[in-house]
Symmetry: C2
Subunit: 412 residues, 2 copies
């Protein structure tokens, strides 16, 4: 292990040369804080603050019910969906914004089980997948008399077979940052004619996605992480064009009806992806999401992913030299990971508490992981340098052992 | 029919004597508009505009991920639920805010069907119920191999029997304003041991509710109508305390887990009403809802209901005298209706368009209904007087027959 590492002035020089540097000023970032948790809740775009005043005070306050038409609230789920489609290389009309990742995953799972009444009796997923994916899948399996097969990721490929009814995988792992080979796993699933749902929560806005090119047909994803859509921003549903025809949402809400305001007793699903809408969408949260999505659409995604990689390598080099007791668990190879970097330490909890106290916000994931999110739109090299510098000080002086940090207070 | 009707100065005198008059100033209402659609989307409380700036710019922008604890975002669904519980005479811990009415109805229906595996093969509801209720019920019935029995309200009581698996009723009808006798119908359902879900969307904040007193055990409701929670505000779920024990949400999301941040693979539902949470709640929309709910909790609900009644009678008197061609379809008896007044006319569509053009916002409900919402917090007698005056002018000069009003442009 090398003890040589880049200096602060090197970091500053790299920031000065960063073609994305101007983006930083388009976000509100609190004074004195280095924010490495944009993978959990993205930062507030300054434009979104303006937009939310307009949405609340003009669109709702002045426009009132008229804004469903005049401000095109009614078109927002599809309009924002079309923008997200650009980010994941899907076609217009293949993505709609609604509900939460959890509810969307549930809807899509039931839709696929109903439309693929094959012989499979097992829902396949990864053990240690994000809890909501596991919980939803377990609930759906129980309702359908199926079994849930949750296995380590290296066993997934071998498990796909005639007994598999449905596969649910998170593309980038929330804790370790490991990334599945989307095209490869999709091809395996297709070879067995098993529908596969991708959860893109830690991927969209973080790593290059090409749903069309990878032949991925079903996905859900999250708005409040790398899309900077605000706390609890609505999620999205993706269904590739040709696959939509056979799918119906199990939650037949009026907003998924072909003509919501015809107010008919009978239900006719919308011809397009809007059929996955359920109730009236939480418009203020949708409009906040649109603010974040607009920035991601405007940004050059190749430049973003390049910067994510060089930030990752910069962080890895600094951590290896200065915090050797924190063991990296995220694959160093860029094509095998997302845009966060995780480190294991038996005392990750108090270390993270002490780090937050020192003005660096990452997060802890049970039982032993310190997770640091790299968001190229608003982070720079000097941020990373200072973050590691403060972490190194905490490790060196042992202050994380203080009782105030060891206490298991509630954190998210 | 009397052609005598109250004068504008009488209306003004009643406004001056109205003990609720000061509430009007706590809402943003656009200049030159009389807003009679608060039953569809409530007006913006001025305090909510302030609150939303704080939620966006300070809680999200400055607090970032820390606000889940520091601003108690994590407690919001239950905290706001407890406030709504006060409005419907439920106990603390019996209400949680989440998702939409549609999704909540779906979750509660499935939870009840799973926990009441009786002999009934029919889901009973009212024909002409709000479409999303009918659509959700139809979907659930199909999934469970049950039949949906949608009958006119006067037949509901007779249909409850051994074949009934579940009943779903909207307490106040969205179109006609008719109100069910909650205690009476509940007693019938209880006599047959059939679970009954009430949809309180047009009731909460509009008419007196006493879930405890009426022995109602299951309900869902809407945040964006009389609660003034903002466009698409999240809905709520109510389950009476003793009934919760046997119910589990079919959508097993991480926010409904007993310990969301334990991040366990296995699912253990939260001990309380939080088990009906699914994914991460849309926090900006939740906080906007809380602003509206706080006002309703502060207001004297007996005074509100009294004023709703006198506004209704005032409107009815004016309409009978000045717009006799519009036929009242809402029961005049206060205990048989909600807080909106509907009128039938074969040309209700263009009449409503012309009325909006004249600065009075009510709404049209297919095929022939003009619906006028009475929201005692921000409406006065002079508002009603002017609204009818303008409507009378439209009827008298026949301007509603202009082609621009007859055109079926999209409206909500």
């Amino acid at each position: 292990m090398s003890t040589e590492y880049p200096s602060l002035s090197e970091a500053q020089a790299r920031d000065a040369a960063d073609p994305l540097r101007a983006w930083r000023d388009r976000f509100t970032l609190p004074q004195g804080v280095i924010y490495l948790d944009g993978n959990s809740l993205g930062a507030l775009p300054k434009s979104t603050a303006v937009l939310m005043r307009d949405a609340t005070e003009r669109q709702w306050g002045e426009g009132l019910i008229r804004s469903w038409n005049d401000a095109d609230w009614i078109g927002a789920p599809r309009r924002i969906g079309d923008k997200i489609a650009q980010l994941i290389r899907a076609a217009p009309g293949e993505v709609v914004v609604c509900d939460s990742v959890t509810v969307n995953l549930y809807k899509l799972m039931l839709a696929l089980l109903a439309s693929h009444p094959g012989q499979g009796r097992t829902i396949l997923t990864e053990s240690g997948n994000f809890p909501t994916d596991l919980h939803v899948a377990a609930g759906v399996a129980r309702q359908h008399g199926l079994s849930l097969d949750a296995v380590p990721r290296e066993q997934i490929a071998d498990r796909i077979g005639p007994d598999t009814a449905l596969i649910v995988l998170t593309h980038v792992h929330y804790k370790t940052g490991e990334r599945f080979d989307m095209a490869g796993v999709q091809a395996l699933a297709d070879a067995h004619n098993v529908p596969l749902i991708w959860d893109l929560s830690h991927s969209v806005g973080a790593v290059p996605l090409d749903m069309g090119g990878d032949a991925a047909r079903f996905a859900v994803g999250c708005g409040y992480k790398y899309l900077n859509g605000g706390p609890g921003a609505p999620g999205f549903v993706y269904v590739a064009g040709e696959a939509l025809e056979f799918l119906g949402s199990p939650i037949q809400g009026w907003m998924g009806h072909a003509e919501p305001f015809a107010m008919t007793d009978g239900y006719t699903p919308a011809p397009g992806i809007e059929r996955f809408l359920a109730g009236t969408p939480p418009m203020l949260s949708l409009l906040a999401l649109e603010g974040g999505v607009d920035l991601m659409v405007e940004a050059d995604d190749a430049a973003l992913w390049h910067k994510s990689q060089v930030l990752f390598d910069f962080l890895a080099q600094l951590m290896a030299a200065r915090c050797p007791d924190l063991a990296p668990i995220t694959p160093p190879r860029a094509d095998l990971r997302g845009s966060h970097a995780s480190f294991a330490h038996p005392h990750a909890w108090p270390i993270n508490r002490a780090l937050i106290e020192a003005g660096v916000i990452g997060d802890f994931r049970t039982p032993d992981v310190l997770r640091l999110g790299l968001t190229p739109l608003y982070l720079g090299f000097a941020d990373i340098w200072h973050a590691v510098d403060r972490l190194a000080a905490i490790m060196d002086d042992g202050r994380w052992q203080r009782s105030e940090y060891m206490a298991k207070t509630k954190v998210t």
